[in-house]
Symmetry: D3
Amino acid sequence: MDLRDATWTDVRDLETDLAVVPVGSTEQHGPHAPLGTDVVTAEAVADAGLERFDHEAVRAPAIPVGVAEEHRQFPGTMWVSEETFRNYVREVVESLASHGFDRVIIVNGHGGNVDAVREVGGTVTRDGEAYAVPFTWFEAVGEHAAEMGHGGPLETALLRHCEPELVRDDRIEEASAGGADSWGEWVSHTNLAYDAAEFTENGVVGDPRDGDEQRGEELLELAGDALARLLEAVAERDVSRPERR
Amino acid sequence: MDLRDATWTDVRDLETDLAVVPVGSTEQHGPHAPLGTDVVTAEAVADAGLERFDHEAVRAPAIPVGVAEEHRQFPGTMWVSEETFRNYVREVVESLASHGFDRVIIVNGHGGNVDAVREVGGTVTRDGEAYAVPFTWFEAVGEHAAEMGHGGPLETALLRHCEPELVRDDRIEEASAGGADSWGEWVSHTNLAYDAAEFTENGVVGDPRDGDEQRGEELLELAGDALARLLEAVAERDVSRPERR
Amino acid sequence: MDLRDATWTDVRDLETDLAVVPVGSTEQHGPHAPLGTDVVTAEAVADAGLERFDHEAVRAPAIPVGVAEEHRQFPGTMWVSEETFRNYVREVVESLASHGFDRVIIVNGHGGNVDAVREVGGTVTRDGEAYAVPFTWFEAVGEHAAEMGHGGPLETALLRHCEPELVRDDRIEEASAGGADSWGEWVSHTNLAYDAAEFTENGVVGDPRDGDEQRGEELLELAGDALARLLEAVAERDVSRPERR
Amino acid sequence: MDLRDATWTDVRDLETDLAVVPVGSTEQHGPHAPLGTDVVTAEAVADAGLERFDHEAVRAPAIPVGVAEEHRQFPGTMWVSEETFRNYVREVVESLASHGFDRVIIVNGHGGNVDAVREVGGTVTRDGEAYAVPFTWFEAVGEHAAEMGHGGPLETALLRHCEPELVRDDRIEEASAGGADSWGEWVSHTNLAYDAAEFTENGVVGDPRDGDEQRGEELLELAGDALARLLEAVAERDVSRPERR
Amino acid sequence: MDLRDATWTDVRDLETDLAVVPVGSTEQHGPHAPLGTDVVTAEAVADAGLERFDHEAVRAPAIPVGVAEEHRQFPGTMWVSEETFRNYVREVVESLASHGFDRVIIVNGHGGNVDAVREVGGTVTRDGEAYAVPFTWFEAVGEHAAEMGHGGPLETALLRHCEPELVRDDRIEEASAGGADSWGEWVSHTNLAYDAAEFTENGVVGDPRDGDEQRGEELLELAGDALARLLEAVAERDVSRPERR
Amino acid sequence: MDLRDATWTDVRDLETDLAVVPVGSTEQHGPHAPLGTDVVTAEAVADAGLERFDHEAVRAPAIPVGVAEEHRQFPGTMWVSEETFRNYVREVVESLASHGFDRVIIVNGHGGNVDAVREVGGTVTRDGEAYAVPFTWFEAVGEHAAEMGHGGPLETALLRHCEPELVRDDRIEEASAGGADSWGEWVSHTNLAYDAAEFTENGVVGDPRDGDEQRGEELLELAGDALARLLEAVAERDVSRPERR
């Protein structure tokens, strides 16, 4: 049940303790893909997962601005600090839990949010306010995951499937040419770069030409199935904390 | 230019220092109107204002969860603390300002956000990071403003105009019957109530029957015009701080 | 019972759960009125209200510095940030509540504090630590309220009644001449100004010549009566939080 | 110049960079002395020091609630957390510094505030916002200092001199009998007690019978002289920070 | 140069802008390995790296308590919150940078610290206070990395090499028998567990029997070499921030 | 039982509620004594006290960086803010208390930490999380205490006894010559200095020539005995909070 469209009486009549909170980012995704990519994809995956899930759950509106200072050199990129993002997401989860939706999956569409949503999940879970876990869709798409990049094949493909008009076909070649092969600059397993602009000229990582609509469909199916499995697991999990040793 | 859909290169090529940030709330609006009412209306007004404005401006995605703990007794209501909301909005504004969009109007659709967005505007303006002012649409609709309520005639009307399928026609009578006449419980100009549930049984204030589509159209026109005038004023204002006396 | 002058044993022997906390500001009030105006008036109104009230209540010392950065361009204006002011007032209220004075009225003499004291009241009330409401005296003086201004007729009148020697008679004409007609610069119901110095040359708003001693007496009576009614209402109110819907 | 009574134009015309900020506490002082003792004494000493000082300085209103949780078991005691008190005092100092009063003496009347005001002084001084130092009057009264106690001979004496009606003569014997000899419970130079109620039955430490009016007069003279010397030293000090070694 | 043992004059005479800050954790490592494992190993690796590095660098004392609430069910585990740990590490780095040691490697011995030290590095680097990167030794030991576990083969081996008396030989079999095969409980690439006690009975993950002294020697060599390479890269890196696009 | 070396099963089998947490500082101690002086001495005293104590207690690793900004002009000095230090120490104490070690002595080796550790002790004790008190060794060494200084006779002596190789014999004369006689610059019992570099050229206060090994031995004995007495007292103390008056 989409909370944006539901009334409070609809929510009252629902029997579930599950909630899904999409979190994205509004940030550069190369010259060919929109700033809202991570919101569009997080919402699409959240909905796909809920569709494939047999039981009820509430679906919150997507949180549109996340941890994205790493893209700050690219015009239009929006961000908040890690601390503010964690607080915002945590309090959103707590407000849902106050109504009994205290098993929460944070469906994440942005790499920069990964650490933050895991930390938030740990905080609310250990404090006993809710049980919350993150799900980052592009980690759960089988072998595709290795090609994630940024504005690369996966995101371009998923956009083409979900909102094709948001992909600028006429800039795909340019996007591909000016992008980087991989994320970061690594020495001894340490990434020396903090800003994407240190290693990618136009903000792209990976080749967006490898992201056609069909691949997007497959990605959505894979991610939706994975999320549905996670919903099942979260619904059934014993979330009590373990005993002291 | 809608940042969700634009690419960073589109934003780069834009010549403006103006930004519009819609802020709403996901909270009960009676048995007949959706939890997302304040997001839907804030976005509609933001877009109407931009349409009526002769120059360019960027339009951020709406911030969907605000200061709404006062509705916490009604299922589905989401909220964050005042402090977290202020931080989130302020940092959103600052990230826009980092790209030169340092004249910002926060288009607000929720009464509970009013104090917070004014404080944020003052903070960023005095610190010199940006010039930001709030605009709360239902204060700027002429004589209609007096009938605002909550899930009442104005919001119902505007929803009917913008997304009519979100209004439950079959619950309007019930919504009207169980609502309160006015907001709060007042003694000596002090509101003794902190939670809406102290004075409204079903969350409604005002009579939603008085909110037909035509009124909604008029409201959007009035609010859109007002916002366009404000955009004009903000664009031209001398935002330097006054001299010490 | 004035806490400044009472001993702890006096307080122990008292039977009441009511407390009154005056909050003011030390800030410019034009060339004719003292920086301490908002403290003087908040204390006078607090005492007038308690006098008119039939039961016991403790009266805290006035908090002398508030949210007044908007007057920072005028020498001698003191202020703290909104956050610090809220914390200070909230903890003051909580310390009173720890002794059983858990029905608290914050008697406010300064417009810049209004949002902050309302927020504090909501926080402590929802958390169950105390029931606290703000009372801003110049909102509760009937039709006079419309003429509030700043260092204008109302404050000048009340000072003349309470501490006449603090008003500089010989600067009233100058104060009147250099003042503004109204507070702020408004477009589409948005105040474009954040600093008083943007719209008033000498810090005055309204005409202090309209504030004679007799008017001050009437204001104190009106405000004192209003506060006494509020004390009565707060004493008797069911402060339990409403049930979930 | 007392900021409470001065107008901003008076302050503007002043030539000084010196400010004095009294800080007290509203807390139990035994059955015979008022909760406001530390405010009364801090203000008296501040004024005595300024009187004895040859040059101009502004005098802020006293901050009435401080770090006093250690007295929380005694009815009427008010307090804020150390953090909030530090923030409040620091921002008060910074607002004064914004007007050029950037050499500040915090005149303190309460032992519980000592660490906090020293920390605040260090913070603003090292940050370059102002040069601020604390002055705690009962440390600067020669050999009397050893008998400080709490509601003991020194405070009782000073009250008798400044506001004699605040001392309850008829409870002095009781105050003396129920008091403790010294502050705290010490083992290996560590105070094992955190709350005054752990070691004093009625809140008194020291014998208030040893505090007559004459002694109060002498204390005020000693403290006033000491503060005047400090004002002189602060006015003349090179407050630039030392060079790196 | 080890800061613990050096004098400030020694440090003054040094010519380098490089610093190394070991961070560990004091937390359960199974029945056979000490709570201090992550401190011992972080320090050993830091020293090994510095030894292999041709130039000077200062070496800070190890920060002994980190982000380890996930082990809270096991007696003796110490931890601080993520926020406090980040602040502590960041300010430590900033104090080093104030002396010109503004290229900093945080040598980390604990998985729970990984996100925090990366965030700290980003914060100080983007703010321009220092350039700081994390190095987590067990990620940089080639194919061994895959077997990390907790109190498992790698840590046991490295302890045997560095401080063999800290490994309880007589509990290795028990440690092995009661341990888990892998870290966490995973569904759809999400770890459902937040506390180690959810999936390991005795706190061990991996088989400590596979961690002999010789392997420890190899690990130290690999990690030391990797750190030396990173020191070289950090020393030579252009740390200016990239230009806006 | 030293937590660094113990396993969690060792800790589980222990029967005690006592913990000792050494806190030091890494900061300049003159040209002859190491930056780590306050860590070395805090640890030595902690161990000496535990040795002399008849019962069990756990001993945490030393916290190596404290409140030392006052030495910032001297290369190599490390510090964190007071707030961060307080949070770090408090959370360390709370994590110990979570395992039942809820009677804690913070063994402090640095003057700059004194206020902070007292505040932390008060906070956790009043909140009921643990009973914690600070012990600063150089206050508990009888008549020696008067000669404390900085890098002076006491610290030099104790270092000579504990880790003699850390004292640079060949710089003792220089250290003595360039040091100050006493700490600070005092007027009216107020220290006008905030940075040590304001009053000591080389960072030394007191004459390190008066600190031979024999004196160090005596100091360790005195401090160890004092700490043992304090452990006894803390173990037996009724730590319940007193009743309201």
